[in-house]
């Protein structure tokens, strides 16, 4: 037996999370290095920190960086820490290599900005503010998804709910313009109608998927298709014949906060739905994790039968959550027509509902995680817009892709398998 024993052990390199990240880092480092050597060494990226993008107020901070040297340095750092982490050293070195990993992670986004703006000035404040602004519908949409899915009902209809809300919110505003209501009141009413139309469509989703136990994906798809048809019909009938444009929701300045230098003006003087994103973040987090309703919702989404044996009405809980989800999605929809553009166009939500769903999943069904994921996607959007404005030495599409690629690596490596609420998608049938 001992002879067999000695033969049996064959060394194997185990593929671990850390090794996946390390390998990705190594490849990225090599790529950055190679690209950086192609750059003109004289190029300088100037990071500025201005309070507005208009450039009327004086620049507060300027940080010039030699692009090529910076990238060579970062590339080298990535290669080194990728290599060290591939080895999976133990003991004291383990902490050093993990520290390097975190440092590399923190450098990702600044590096993208610096590489993208090679040879130019770029205003960091604007990028941050713009990322947050573009993240608004994604984050709010993701919260809508959390409300629904935490209770065990799949909601792929966020896109459709948003579109309905964008349309009917705007139609409300459009018709109220003719009356002598003050603009603010009309806008408020429009947003409220947006919320309610989202909620109403959610009731259809609840009716199909809770009462009739239709497959929840099918029900959601039906709503998405319905939304495209009905909203474009409404637009053609009522909006097309006229000059359909309306004032966007006005800016609000938060006292004290908006006086903070550099970021105050750019972030804390903003439109109402933007601020609602933070309100909804706090609200969703508190309700889900610190109230009776949240506890029951999570129980119903995970193990409805257990909740039932404790006297909790599973389907009632689901109905209410689906309705709230629809209203939150309605808020995200109102952002498109009332806050961002002041008009309504066919299919103007452009798949944001699905990206919101992705943000929810990346955030592992938690409000904070979903918010972080939405910010990453918002950043990617804003980067795309900026790259189209400044000419860059890198392929634009590649840089736009980077945040998504980073998300994938982070998901595969750090976070691991996302586990949805266990009962999601399953109608509850009492025995």
């Amino acid at each position: 037996m001992s002879a067999a024993k000695s033969k049996s052990t064959r060394p194997r390199v185990k593929i671990t999370r850390r090794r996946i990240i390390a390998a990705a880092l190594l490849l990225l480092g090599i790529f950055i290095w190679l690209e950086a050597t192609q750059l003109d060494p004289g190029l300088v990226t100037t990071l500025t920190f201005e309070s507005t993008s208009l450039g009327e107020t004086p620049t507060v901070g300027v940080l010039p960086l030699p692009t090529s040297a910076y990238l060579l340095m970062v590339g080298a750092l990535f290669i080194v820490s990728g290599g060290i982490n591939l080895l999976e050293l133990a003991g004291r070195w383990r902490r050093v290599s993990l520290g390097l990993l975190v440092l590399c992670g923190a450098l990702f986004i600044p590096t993208i900005i610096i590489a993208a703006a090679a040879g130019n000035d770029t205003n960091v404040t604007t990028i941050v503010a713009e990322s947050l602004r573009l993240a608004t519908p994604l984050a709010i949409g993701a919260f809508a998804g959390i409300w629904c899915e935490r209770a065990g009902v799949v909601n792929i209809a966020i896109e459709g709910m948003m579109l309905f809300a964008a349309c009917f919110g705007f139609v409300t505003l459009f018709f109220l313009r003719g009356t002598d209501l003050p603009l603010e009141t009309a806008q408020l009413l429009a947003v409220v109608i947006g919320l309610l139309s989202g909620g109403l469509i959610a009731l259809l989703h609840g009716w199909l998927s809770i009462t009739f136990r239709t497959d929840q994906i099918v029900s959601g798809t039906v709503i998405n298709i319905l939304a495209v048809g009905i909203t474009s019909f409404v637009r053609r009938e009522y909006l097309l014949s006229t000059e359909a444009g309306a004032a966007k929701l006005g800016n609000i300045s938060l006292p004290i906060l908006s006086d903070i230098p550099i970021i105050g003006e750019a972030i804390f003087t903003n439109q109402p739905i933007f601020f609602m994103m933070f309100v909804m973040l706090a609200f969703t987090h508190l309700v889900m994790f610190h109230t009776r309703w949240g506890l029951r919702t999570r129980a119903v989404g995970e193990h409805p039968h257990a909740a039932d044996t404790l006297g909790i009405n599973v389907n009632r809980t689901r109905w209410i959550n689906v309705f709230v989800s629809g209203m939150i999605a309605g808020l995200a929809g109102a952002w498109f027509s009332l806050e961002a553009t002041g008009s309504f166009n066919d299919g103007m939500t452009r798949g944001a509902g699905f990206i919101a769903l992705a943000a929810m999943i990346f955030g592992k069904w938690t409000p904070l995680g979903a918010f972080g994921a939405a910010l990453l996607f918002g950043f990617s959007d804003s980067l795309g817009i900026r790259l189209q404005m400044v000419g860059v030495g890198f392929p634009v599409q590649f840089l736009q892709m980077v945040p998504y690629a980073v998300t994938l690596v982070v998901l595969a490596g750090f976070i691991g398998r996302a586990s949805p609420p266990k009962a999601v998608g399953q109608p509850y049938v009492k025995e």
Partner: protein
């Protein structure tokens, strides 16, 4: 003094089945009422009616002498009835505290007061010796502790009538003894308990009164002080049952299975099997005893090709099968009765006849090039259903609709009817009634006597001791000891299961 709970003439009909037929029973205050019966005898149906999950078609329920209407679990809870279900009703991603308070939350303003519930759990835990950490996540807890969480849930709601639905089915003998201690503490404080079980020994040990159900009717009541296991078993099944396994001593032949320095990891990537070495010969049964979660599952997975081996070798009939696929292992003459019969043993939505050929459908007997020969499959099924006594013997029924015992018979029929040299049976009788257990044990002995090598993994110590020719005890991924059956008594093996060996003995 009126009884804690009385049930009079309860009848419940499901489509096509009379689940409960005019059942009456009485639970006296501060006593344990044992409820015995085979699978499908109507025990759980009756309890679910008392707990308000089903509505009886006829009959009445009295709590403390008062006729009551129980239309949902909420009513039952407010009447002081608590139930520990056979399948725990716990949300495993929530903490113990959250599970206990769910549905009965204390709040300040809109916010949960977790600390209040936590203190109450700690108090209950101390009072009854339950030993539960209120902040642990339920999914991280072993089954025995999860059960105590269920008991706390009932006590937190001030239950004084506690229904325990097959509480010992998932416990080790040690854990079961712990549960009995807790039950006695509850009785001392005036709680009345209904105890549902298959295990006759336990019923005799703990109960004050026993009611036996058979096919939805009360078959009889018994006083445990004047009953024997034999008499209860006959009452339950309606005929005489042979409880002792009757077998000759083994005549081991050549080695079929060899395991050398096997290392396997579990789902979380932690080492679960650490350096196992053992051999198994033709015509013998090696029983693997041990508390669940000591690497048995991973060992079986590795042997059947369902889990990657980290290092070491598995040799079957002289050929290295270390990283072979399940199909290659099956083709090598290995039969597998998996631990989780519903997940790994059957395709619940397939018919009985198709489930019977899951490991052979591709062979020329049942398959003509690419066309499956349903007629041959049906013939095969008719024969096996009769030989293995699957009830009802309808081969076009979905396998998922059969009772647990009959599902297991389908698996046994499939695996035993092939040409098998090595049989790996994991928890083959878990959750089954005495009639089915008797049948399955006889089949295993028959296979051994026909010359197969059998690896029997079971957390039922009784089962291992009555079937095995040698007993291997697993503890924390190691085989602590392999004893010939003559030296393996309950106490010796029990100590090994807790990881204790006589270190004083000279090597």
């Amino acid at each position: 003094m009126s009884a804690a709970l009385e049930v009079r003439g309860i009848t419940k009909r499901f489509p096509g089945v009379l689940a409960n037929d005019n059942i009456s029973l009485t639970l006296e205050k501060g006593q344990v009422l044992g409820l015995l019966g085979e699978n499908g005898a109507g025990k759980s149906t009756l309890m679910n009616m008392i707990y308000g999950l089903y509505k009886p078609d006829a009959g009445e329920i009295l709590v403390n002498g008062q006729a009551v209407e129980i239309s949902g679990p909420k009513d039952a809870i407010s009447l002081g009835i608590g139930m520990v279900h056979q399948h725990f009703q716990l949300v495993d991603v929530l903490s113990v505290t959250e599970n206990v308070m769910l549905g009965n939350e204390r709040t300040r303003g809109p916010f949960l007061r977790r600390s209040l519930a936590r203190r109450e759990i700690e108090a209950l835990s101390r009072e009854y010796g339950l030993d539960v950490n209120p902040d642990a996540l339920v999914r991280d807890l072993p089954v025995g502790v999860q059960q105590r969480v269920e008991i706390i849930k009932a006590l937190y709601r001030q239950a004084d009538i506690l229904i325990l639905d097959e509480p010992t089915a998932v416990l080790t003998p040690q854990e079961a003894r712990g549960l009995f201690k807790i039950m006695r503490a509850l009785l001392d404080r005036g709680v009345s308990i209904i105890f549902i079980s298959h295990k006759l020994k336990e019923v005799l040990e703990i109960c004050d009164q026993v009611v036996v159900l058979r096919r939805g009717k009360v078959a009889g009541t018994a006083d445990p002080r004047q009953s024997t296991e034999q008499s209860l078993a006959s009452l339950m099944v309606g005929r005489d049952v042979i409880l002792e396994v009757d077998k000759d001593s083994a005549t081991p032949g050549d080695e079929i299975l060899g395991v050398f320095d096997l290392h396997v990891h579990d789902d979380r990537g932690l080492p679960a099997v650490e350096g196992l070495n053992f051999g198994l010969r033709r015509g013998e049964i090696l029983g693997v005893a041990g508390v669940q979660g000591n690497g048995q599952t991973e060992l079986v997975d590795a042997l059947t090709g369902m889990r990657a081996v980290d290092s070491g070798r598995i040799v079957i009939k002289g050929q290295d099968m270390t990283s072979a696929s399940p199909r290659q292992i099956t083709e090598r003459g290995v039969g597998h009765v998996p631990e989780d019969r519903q997940r790994d043993g059957l395709v619940a939505s397939f018919t009985v006849m198709h489930n019977l050929v899951l490991s052979t459908y591709y062979r020329s007997d049942f398959c003509d090039w690419i066309v499956v020969d349903d007629r041959a499959i049906a013939t095969n099924a008719h024969e096996l259903v009769e030989r293995y006594d699957v009830r009802p013997p309808i081969i076009n029924n979905a396998a998922g609709g059969l009772s647990g015992g009959n599902q297991q018979k389908v698996i046994i029929a499939r695996e035993f009817s092939r040409d098998v040299d090595l049989l790996i049976a994991s928890q083959p009788t878990r959750g089954l009634d005495v009639g089915s257990i008797e049948f399955i044990h006889r089949q295993i002995i028959r296979m051994r006597d026909a010359g197969a090598a059998i690896l029997l993994v079971s957390s039922e110590l009784e089962e291992v001791l009555s079937l095995a020719d040698r007993v291997a005890v697993m503890f924390e991924g190691h085989i602590i000891d392999i004893l010939p059956i003559a030296e393996a008594d309950r106490d010796t093996v029990g100590l090994r299961m807790a990881g204790i060996t006589e270190t004083a003995q000279p090597a």
